[in-house]
C-alpha cells in the first residue's frame, strides 16, 4: 500500500486568489492523479500528473485554471487559480503503481471560496 498526505487539509480563500495543494506519497509510484469531490458525491478526475511532462487534463479542466506539477515519483502539486465560489470542493490526490493495481487516496483538501 501507499500512504498519501496532503497539505493543507482545508482552507478558506477569497475569490480571485490561488491555492496550491501539495501531495506527498511515502513510496515511489507510477501514476498520480487529482480528483474533485463534492461532499457525499462521486469523484471527478481533473488530470493525470505526469512526471517530467505536462499533465493530461480531462474534458472541462484546463491547465491555466488547474496547473499541476510532478517533479518526481513521490510528489505533486495542484494549483487552483483565480478561484471562484464554484471551485469550493474537496480535492483528492491519488496514486497507484500500475493498471492492475488499486489507487490509494489522500485525505483530501477541503476548499471553501468566499
Amino acid at each position: 500500500s501507499a500512504v498519501i498526505s496532503q497539505k493543507p487539509s482545508r482552507d478558506i480563500c477569497q475569490r480571485g486568489t490561488s491555492l496550491t495543494i501539495q501531495c506527498q506519497v511515502d513510496s515511489q509510484v507510477t501514476m498520480m492523479f487529482w480528483y474533485r469531490q463534492q461532499p457525499g458525491q462521486s469523484l471527478t478526475l481533473i488530470a493525470t500528473a505526469n512526471q517530467g511532462s505536462e499533465a493530461t487534463y480531462e474534458s472541462g479542466f484546463v491547465i491555466d485554471k488547474f496547473p499541476i506539477s510532478r517533479p518526481n515519483l513521490t510528489f505533486s502539486t495542484l494549483t487552483v487559480s483565480n478561484m471562484s465560489p464554484e471551485d469550493s470542493s474537496i480535492y483528492l490526490c491519488s496514486a497507484g503503481r500500475g493498471r492492475s493495481y488499486e489507487q490509494y487516496f489522500g485525505p483530501g483538501t477541503r476548499l471553501t471560496v468566499t
Partner: protein, 113 residues
C-alpha cells in the same frame, strides 16, 4: 471510454442481514474493477479488486464481490452487515487503454441495529 453505474443511491439493511451494493460497468475489452468505501469526513479506502481469475473476490472487512462478465456486473456483498459498515461505497473501473480510474455515483449504505 470506460464507465460504471451504481443504480441505487441508498441501500438500507438491518444488522445481521446480508447486504448487496450493485455495480454495472461498460468498457472496451477486459475490465479492472474496484470497490472503495468512504466513511464520513474520511478519505477513500480500498476494499477489493477484480483483475483476472476467480470471479468471486474477497476483500477487507468481510466484503466480497462477484464479477459477472455476461451481465457486466460487479456487485459488492457481505453475508452479515454491521452497523459500522454504514458508509458511502464507490465502484470504479479501469480498462486496458487507460491508467485512470472512473468512479460510479456512489451508494450510501445504512445498516440499522
Amino acid at each position: 471510454a470506460q464507465s460504471v453505474a451504481q443504480p441505487e443511491d441508498q441501500v438500507n439493511v438491518a444488522e445481521g442481514n446480508p447486504l448487496t451494493v450493485k455495480c454495472t460497468y461498460s468498457v472496451s475489452g477486459n475490465p479492472y474493477l474496484f470497490w472503495y468505501v468512504q466513511y464520513p469526513n474520511r478519505g477513500l479506502q480500498f476494499l477489493l479488486k477484480y483483475i483476472t481469475g476467480d470471479n468471486l473476490v474477497k476483500g477487507s472487512y468481510g466484503f466480497e464481490a462477484e464479477f459477472n462478465k455476461s451481465q457486466t456486473s460487479f456487485h459488492l456483498k457481505k453475508p452479515s452487515a454491521l452497523v459500522s459498515d454504514s458508509a458511502l461505497y464507490f465502484c470504479a473501473v479501469r480498462d486496458l487503454n487507460n491508467n485512470d480510474m472512473r468512479f460510479g455515483a456512489g451508494t450510501r449504505l445504512t445498516v440499522k441495529p
